[in-house]
């Protein structure tokens, strides 16, 4: 079965646009225009100019020899951690702010969990001189103070989401409500491959620069433009979608996604959606998410705030459902150990989200000839306190 989005925004049985009528005109405006705008020459010129000169792309595809030696295979790291603001998130916010400008929008809103997407949004709004409001769960604000400060430093207003459990899903609810109340002048920059169509596909297109570069870089370094395996972590799944995108339908490439198992898949504190989730409708899309028998959303848990979302994007639900991608999950401890290992062997401190992908090397054996690309989605600076307390470093 081909992995692609259909006209109504479905990947197989997942996706669509389950939104109240109040959001219909905004989402419809996007749906009708996003592909035309993205494909315009001047859009492409400006997008690639900013990715090159401002973000610092292309990011290196680095053959990590010492960790390859350890796992007896060939591990390449796609260094998204070297992007401006420290993660892949900015690929999407650059794309969406250019789109918002062309739609004539004067204000930007966004949701954020750990603050990475909020920072990436505040960054591009400062760059473009556009008013920016970021919704962040009250609990997350107290856990991620430096990112709150970064956003404010760049002129964004950060509004605490005080409903529900005061985390990412509640921030998403608040952003959607704000959009309902401000339908005409505001664009909502969703940070992952979630939400109503066309968001999941649009975000994946902007992130697909990752696999586009990967193809060229692999050809130069290995003589062929595809790897045997691509490994990426999945919360909502934007970095994974970007890393998989140009290989969705290339059966020579094995796609591997890593979810967060928290304290253990069945511990009651987990975010392993493909194991614990059921199909349902959340935040405007039909996908897999963790819910009670009565259809109420279950609050996820992971040590990594970026994986702390109850669902996965519809494209990932489809990749799972069809068996196109392999799904693993890593506990907090397994991820932390993998993050420590990369730090020691390669001098690269990964984001804890990314460390979940690295933990797969302890679970799956690759052959000596395999070429494995890990999407190193973010750097670990933001997680220093977690590393310190987990490993008792000071």
């Amino acid at each position: 079965m081909k992995v692609e989005v259909d006209e109504r925004g479905y990947y197989g049985q997942f996706g669509g646009a389950y939104i109240p009528e109040m959001l219909y005109p905004n989402v419809e405006e996007l749906r009708l225009n996003y592909l035309d705008i993205i494909h315009q020459d001047d859009f492409q010129r400006e997008f690639h100019y900013l990715l090159t000169e401002y973000v610092g792309r292309p990011t290196p595809l680095y053959l990590a020899e010492r960790i390859s030696e350890k796992y007896q295979t060939n591990i390449y790291l796609k260094r998204e951690d070297l992007n401006h603001t420290g993660a892949h998130k900015i690929n999407n916010t650059i794309g969406q702010i250019l789109l918002a400008k062309r739609l004539g929008k004067q204000r930007i809103i966004a949701e954020t969990g750990a603050g990475q997407h909020g920072v990436a949004t505040a960054t591009v709004c400062a760059l473009m001189g556009i008013e920016c409001t970021v919704f962040m769960g009250e609990l997350d604000m107290s856990r991620q103070k430096p990112n709150v400060a970064r956003m404010r430093l760049m002129g964004a207003e950060v509004i605490p989401a005080t409903s529900g459990n005061k985390t990412l899903k509640d921030a998403t609810n608040e952003a959607m409500r704000h959009w309902i109340n401000h339908p005409e002048d505001t664009h909502y920059i969703i940070g992952s491959v979630i939400g109503p169509h066309p968001y999941p596909e649009m975000v994946a297109i902007f992130q697909s620069v990752i696999s586009e570069e990967m193809k060229k870089q692999l050809l130069e370094k290995t003589g062929r433009d595809y790897p045997d395996h691509i490994l990426a972590c999945v919360g909502g799944g934007s970095n994974a979608a970007g890393a998989f995108y140009h290989y969705y339908n290339d059966q020579r490439v094995n796609l591997i996604a890593a979810e967060a198992a928290g304290h253990g898949i069945h511990s009651g504190e987990s975010a392993a959606t493909t194991v614990l989730g059921k199909p349902g409708i959340l935040h405007g899309t039909r996908t897999l998410f963790m819910q009670t028998e009565d259809g109420q959303v279950i609050e996820p848990y992971s040590i990594s705030a970026g994986l702390d979302y109850p669902g996965i994007g519809p494209v990932h639900a489809h990749l799972f459902d069809t068996g196109r991608a392999e799904f693993y999950s890593a506990t907090d401890d397994e991820a932390m150990e993998a993050g420590m290992l990369l730090s020691k062997l390669e001098g690269i401190i990964p984001a804890i989200e990314t460390a979940h992908a690295l933990a797969v090397f302890e679970k799956k054996k690759f052959s000596k000839e395999d070429i494995v690309v890990v999407n190193l989605s973010g750097r670990g600076d933001k997680d220093l306190e977690t590393y310190i307390s987990w490993a008792k470093l000071v």
């Binding site: 109504r8 669509g16 109240p20 009528e21 609810n173 349902g280 409708i281 259809g295």
Partner: protein, 264 residues
């Protein structure tokens, strides 16, 4: 479908017999206490409400403001669910003769099972559903047959931003009435009615739709109710009534006083 015409829907009867100032009241099932659902419905009917909208709580209600969300969270904590609500309403037609609508987000209904849900609604005597996040196209392809077979009207929303062609499309797919959202807002967000909104009400009235319209969102008192009724067949009150319930010491008296303050 044959069954469409054989089941006599109370909404049709109401709109045939009452031409103006129809009052529809929304409240959250299982709020303020789990077993208050049925008594509140009785008090609403006795006080003169014309339609009752029973809200099915959901953990992530994106179209609702803080008042309705808080009531829903409390109801969920107290054990409210689709199953519990349908149990509570099992014998409701022994007590309530006015139209009853169930309003909620799609997910809890899907997890119960849409077909089973519609059948149960027919057995109980529910007249229609308001599911704000059910897309029009999916309704037509997937959900409509079950609803029609069980005599359930689907109530769609329109807003000031809904283009005229889409208003027509919604009108053609609607039965019962059209839920006219008064402004670009979530529930409970704005008070009173502005000139800008009145232009929108007039615009829709002049379209001469085949379905009657009720105005909701931001209707909270006698003044806003009467204003809305000048431009439509009636109006819907939700958050303002839930605020009354949240502070109530005597549900019967407080419900009566509130309804009387609107329609007397």
């Amino acid at each position: 479908m044959q069954t469409e015409t054989t089941i006599d829907n109370r909404l049709d009867q109401l709109f045939k017999t009452k031409k103006s100032s129809i009052l529809s009241i929304y409240f959250t099932a299982g709020y303020p206490k789990l077993n208050d659902t049925v008594p509140i419905m009785e008090y609403l009917q006795d006080s003169g409400a014309d339609i009752i909208e029973v809200g099915i709580p959901f953990s992530d209600p994106i179209a609702d403001g803080p008042t309705i969300q808080a009531s829903g969270n409390q109801a969920i904590l107290q054990g409210m669910s689709v199953r519990t609500l349908l149990d509570q309403l099992q014998d409701i037609r022994k007590k309530i003769h006015i139209p009853i609508l169930l309003m909620g987000y799609l997910n809890p209904v899907l997890q119960y099972g849409f077909e089973a849900f519609c059948e149960k609604c027919r057995q109980i005597g529910i007249d229609g559903l308001i599911i704000p996040d059910m897309p029009l196209a999916e309704y037509q392809e997937i959900y409509k047959p079950n609803m029609d077979a069980n005599g359930l009207f689907n109530i769609f929303l329109i807003t000031p931003q809904t283009p005229e062609s889409r208003v027509r499309e919604i009108d053609n797919s609607s039965r019962g009435f059209i839920y006219m959202v008064s402004s670009a807002s979530i529930t409970g967000a704005k008070k009173g009615i502005s000139d800008h909104q009145i232009q929108y009400f007039q615009r829709i009235r002049d379209m001469d739709l085949k379905n009657p319209a009720l105005i909701g969102f931001g209707i909270s008192d006698k003044q806003s109710f009467e204003k809305a009724c000048e431009f439509s067949r009636g109006a819907i009150i939700g958050s303002a009534f839930i605020q009354v319930l949240s502070k109530s010491v005597n549900l019967k008296e407080d419900t009566q006083n509130f309804i009387t303050s609107i329609i007397a």
